[in-house]
Structure formats: C-alpha cells, structure tokens
C-alpha cells in the first residue's frame, strides 16, 4: 500500500506542496485532481523519488521508497518523451530493461503490449514518425511493461481520442483487477470519474477534498433539480424550499440548487400539485460539480476516507 503522509515540498519561496496525505492500496485506482499548479505533478514526483519531500513521509508496504522500490514502479509523466529516432519496439523494450526485465522477457512483452494497444504495425517505425496519440500508447506500454505494483500516470488521457481513451481506461481496469495500484491525474473528468475509486482534490498544495465519489457527494451541501416547464407556482414551491436559481439550459429546462437535506419526495408532490410538470429530475452531483465546488468555496474540505 502507498501511504503519503503530510508531505511538503518548496522550491525557494514557492510552496508547491504544503500538506498532502492519502493512501492507495493494491488494486485501487486513485485520482489526484486539481487545477494547473496545484501540486499534483510535484506530489507524483515525490512518490517516485525524483524530489525528496521537505517534510512528511511516503512509504510503500510500510517501507520508505528507495531506489530499489521505485525502480519497480511505472511512470507516465505529463510531458511525454521518447527517443525520436529509436524504433517503437526497441524503445518499449528499453524501458522494460531499465526496470529490471531480462532482454528476452522485455521483447516478448513488448510484442504482447503492441498487439493489445493495436499498434503492432508500428513496431519498426521511428517514434518521431508517430502521431501524438500513438506516441502516448508507446509510453504507456513502456510504463507498464514490467508489471509494476504501482503505476503513476500524469494526465494519461491527454491527447487521446475517445476510442483510445477508452482503450487506456480498459488497460487501467484490467491491471487494477490484477492488483496494480494506480495514482493518476487528469483534467478529463468523465474518464477519471469512471476510472477511479478514490479521489483527492488539491489546490495550492493542500487537500481540498478526499474520499470516494459517494463520500464526496454526501459531503456536498447542495443538490440540483431540473424541472420544466417554468411557471410562477412552481417557482414559489422551490423558493419555499430554500432553492437558489433557477438557471435555464439549452433545452429550456430550469435547474434549481437546493440544500442537500431537502426532502425531495415532498418537493416532488408539491411541484406536481402547483402546476403542470413535464419533467422533474434530481441530479446526483458529478465529479466535475464536486471539483468546482471544492475549489470554489472549499465546502467539501475535510471529507476523509
């Protein structure tokens, strides 16, 4: 299990990470969310030993992460990098050997992963000749060739089309089912919501919210209800229940924000009694809603696993 315990890291006068803690067990997929400059990449680099934390500790299975342990990890950095003139197959096998694989094993697994990622026809091509998406697949294969116990993926869906993003998501699910722990960051909320079981939203180097999606939803103080058509009696009902809004979407539906403790059964009955109603929908907050809310006013702060 990965345990990140109150780590801090500064660069000169800039505090990149002030206080970040979380855990990630084998088979877990952990999402690290936050705006640009929040401290996600620095946190990942500390997990991988590229940077030493100024304070706090990071352990894997109870032991500090030294060179020997970190060599078993896999890493896909945000800034993709490959040797432009090296052939795809050689490159992936080289990454495998760097992580301690024997040459023959590295080559065999390279062939397997090239097939799985549907880029076996590119094995003999120079990396500089590939599209951005295919380069990303090559890097992903290089990061997981040695079957790492922990994979750290910084923006793994960036630059991928929906089909390839889904393929990457499938790989993550498959390896997680085999026991690989994942720490990943992404700005693609849909993908990360479907990939991860636990989340940590950080901003300015501090944790703003942390927990499973259900826990984060429970901690959110408001809920959204969409209703149509608009009418004064219906508006009055929502106002009586302390709603804010409404906002009107492209289809002409109205969205009201209500306190999380609202009795939605009572609300539905009162709305139906107040006037004609074609649609009434209580929406569960998405990860995107939680993210925006956490960074907006920090109300989700303090949610713990």
């Amino acid at each position: 299990m990965l345990v990140v315990d109150h780590i801090q890291r500064s660069f000169g006068s800039l505090a990149a990470v002030s206080d970040v803690s979380f855990t990630c067990g084998r088979g877990d997929v952990f999402g690290l969310l936050g705006p640009n400059g929040a401290g996600k990449t620095t946190t990942m680099r500390m997990i991988l030993g590229i940077y030493e934390p100024d304070a706090g500790s990071i352990t894997w299975d109870g032991r500090p992460i030294g060179l020997k342990i970190r060599r078993t990890f896999g890493y896909l950095p945000e800034e993709r990098g490959l040797y432009g003139k090296m052939k795809v197959g050689e490159q992936i096998a080289y990454f495998g050997r760097l992580h301690g694989l024997r040459d023959d094993v590295a080559r065999r697994r390279t062939v397997e992963w090239l097939k799985r990622l549907e880029i076996e026809h590119l094995a003999g091509r120079a990396c500089s000749e590939l599209s951005k998406g295919n380069q990303q697949k090559v890097q992903l294969a290089g990061a997981l060739l040695h079957e790492p116990p922990l994979l750290v993926l910084d923006e793994p869906f960036s630059g991928l089309d929906p089909v390839n993003a889904e393929m990457t998501l499938e790989c993550i699910r498959m390896l997680a089912a085999r026991g690989t722990a994942f720490v990943l960051s992404s700005h693609q909320m849909w993908q990360i919501e479907h990939a991860c079981r636990e989340f940590c939203i950080i901003d300015c180097g501090r944790v703003r919210a942390r927990g499973s999606l259900a826990e984060l939803r429970r901690a959110l103080p408001t809920r959204t209800v969409r209703v149509s058509p608009d009418s004064s009696p219906v508006r009055a009902v929502f106002t009586a229940h302390g709603a804010t809004g409404p906002t009107v979407d492209a289809e002409g539906e109205l969205a009201y924000e209500l306190p999380a403790g609202t009795d939605f059964g009572v609300l539905l009955r009162e709305v139906v009694a107040a006037g004609p109603v074609d649609a009434f929908e209580r929406q569960e907050p998405s990860l995107s809603d939680i993210y925006v809310h956490a960074l907006g006013n920090g109300v989700a702060r303090g949610v713990r696993l």
Partner: protein
Amino acid sequence: MNEIVTVFSAEFMRRLRSRIYVGATLAGAFFIALIIEAPIIFGHLADTSTDGIVLAGPAPLRARAATLLQRRKAFRVTSQLDALPKPVTAAFLDRHGKAAAAIAISEQHRRLHLDVYARDLAAFDEVDFRSLVPLNIELATGIQARALMPALRIDRTVRGIDHKFVDTRSAAFAHAVASGLIFVLYVAIIFTSQSIMASVAEEKTSRIAEILIATISPVNLLTGKVLAAALLAIIQIAVWVATAALLFSSAIGSIFEGSSSGLAAADAAQASRLDLVDPRILIAFTFFFILGYLQYATVFAAAASLVSRVEDLASVSTPVMLPVIGALFAALYALSAPETPLSITLSFVPFVGPFVMFARYAVENVPAWELGLAVAVNTLTVAAAFVGAGKVYQVGMLLYGKPPSFKQIVATLRA
C-alpha cells in the same frame, strides 16, 4: 550495476548506429588520409624532384662542389653546365631532370659564392650548403678541402643519464608521437564531450529525462551514458590511428620513392618504422584519455542538463571548454620541459593532470610515486565529478526556462 549496463548498451547501440557517429568516424579517417596522401598526390601532379639541382660554373670549381654536395647526399646533381641561361625558368629546370633549382657557383674575393634559382625558396636554406664549407676554406687559405675534412668532423659518444631513450633520434621520435597523441587526446575529449552534451540536451528537450531519472539513479544514468560515449570515442580514435598508421607507413616510402639520395631513403626507412612507438605510450595514452575524458564528460553532461534547448548549449560549453584548452597548452609545455616544478605540479591538478602526466610520461622517466599520486588524484576527481555532476544532472534535467544561478548550483552540490 545492471542499470549502468542497460543504459550503456542502449546508449552505445543507439549512437553507434547513428548517421552522425558513422559519418564523423569516416570523415575523420578520410581527413587523415587526405593529410597524409596529399603531399604524394600533389608531388605526382607537380612531377618535380625535391633534391635535384643543376650546377653551373667554372669546371674545376663546379666538379669539386658537386662532389661535396653529393657526398652529404643532400642533393642530386642532374646537370653540370658552364653557365646558366638568363633568366632561369621552370621550363629550363624541367628540361634538366625536373630539377628543383639551378645553382651558379663562382669564386669572389677568395670566397665561394652561390646564386640559387629555386622553385621553392623555403627548400634551400643555409644548412643545406654546409657541405661546401671545406671548399670555402680552401679558397680562403689554400688548404686542400680533402685535408680539412677529418678536422671538420668531431667524433663523439653521447650517453644519457637516467634517460628514457637510447639515443636522440628515439627521443625525437617519441616527442613527435607524444605531440600527435596529445592533439588526438584534445580533439577526442572535445568531440566526445560535445556529443555527450548533445545527447543530454536531446533527452532533456524530448522530455524523456523525467522517465529515466524516475527509474534509475542519475549517477548510474550518467555513468552509463558517459562510459558508452567513452567506448565509442576509443573505437573512433582506433579507426583514425589505424588509418594514420597504415597510410603513414606507405606514404613515407612513396614520398622518397625514386630518390637517389641515400640519406632520404634511410630517413624514410626510419620514419616508417612505426614499431619504434613504445606500446607503453599507447597504453598510457588510453589510460590518461579515459581519466581525462571521464572528468570532462561528466562536467559537460551536467552543464548540458542546465539548458532547455539544444541551441543554448554553446552558452554553457564555452566556460567548460577553457580548462581543456588550458590543459592542451600545459601538456605542450610539459612536453618541452617535463622536469620543471611547474610541469610536476600540473601533473597533480585535476582536469589538467591527465594531459600533463601523459606528456611527461611519454618523454621522461616519471618517478613511480608521482605517477601514482597523479593517478590517485585524478581517479578521486572522476569519482567526485560523477557525484557532483549527478546532483546537478538530477536537478538540471527537470529545469526548464531560465537556467539556475551559480549560487543555486553550489547549493545543489552541497545538498
């Protein structure tokens, strides 16, 4: 250790197959061949002899001068004439055995006087005519030149004390070889360190560096890269030296081919004796090349890690280049004055020592303790350079934009 081997083998194969490396190796060999073969090629094109002369003047004087000139084997008299045409032309020289010059000899005020008309002015200096000194004395004093000859030669035996070489010719030869090898040492370190810089900068600009240093220690990464480049450099130098040795042996013979001059032929035979090169000098060269190269390459690699673009390499390479140039001059000084306190001291100075100690070792018997101390100091310097460069490398490889200040680099090294 496995990490170093993995990086070493990948880096070695990657660069061995690169067009730049293959091209540079072949271009270097071609350039060497050109330098060696050019005199022969141009010699054949010019089709002139370098030692043939036309001698003109009063018959008795001319005949005695011809005997003296040819006795020293310095010249080959192609024709003897009573007088030279005016003016003396290249066509005239071509007609007389493609001679290099025409010399009019005369007696003026009881002294010998020569008027030399040469194709190449630099080829006829005063030294070449010393063989005529007995004739000059004879004209001045009346003493027969034949009687003077034994008196002009002083028999001597020179014995060196604690000297590395059996005679002056061997010493001169070793000096020449050492000079050449020091130049090769300089060129190889400059070229190879530059290629290390380019390789590091490529990894940084292609952003692959982050994966590498997340996987293995920066010192191991640096070690693998530097050792691979060292082996490639040694292969490159071996190709160049072998090319030079092969062509040099045959070229010397060709240059003097057809010459009737016994001395020239003897010189050719001596010069082509490459087996005169002491193998210990080549071993010392390889050893000190590796020591020097490792020191410079690590520093060059660390410097390269501080730039964000390949185009910026020149800005960091210039300050690192200065010690290499300084070391070259120090080595050339040590070659001419190997036993001075300055040369001895410089042998123990990091970054300069490998050059200077090799120069001294090549031309004198260096005491074992000095050799041992120089090797120890420079080996420790290599270790320190790897650790220091590894730290700078780890920080530098993730820095983009403005390079760190000198103060920040010092702080990194202290950490």
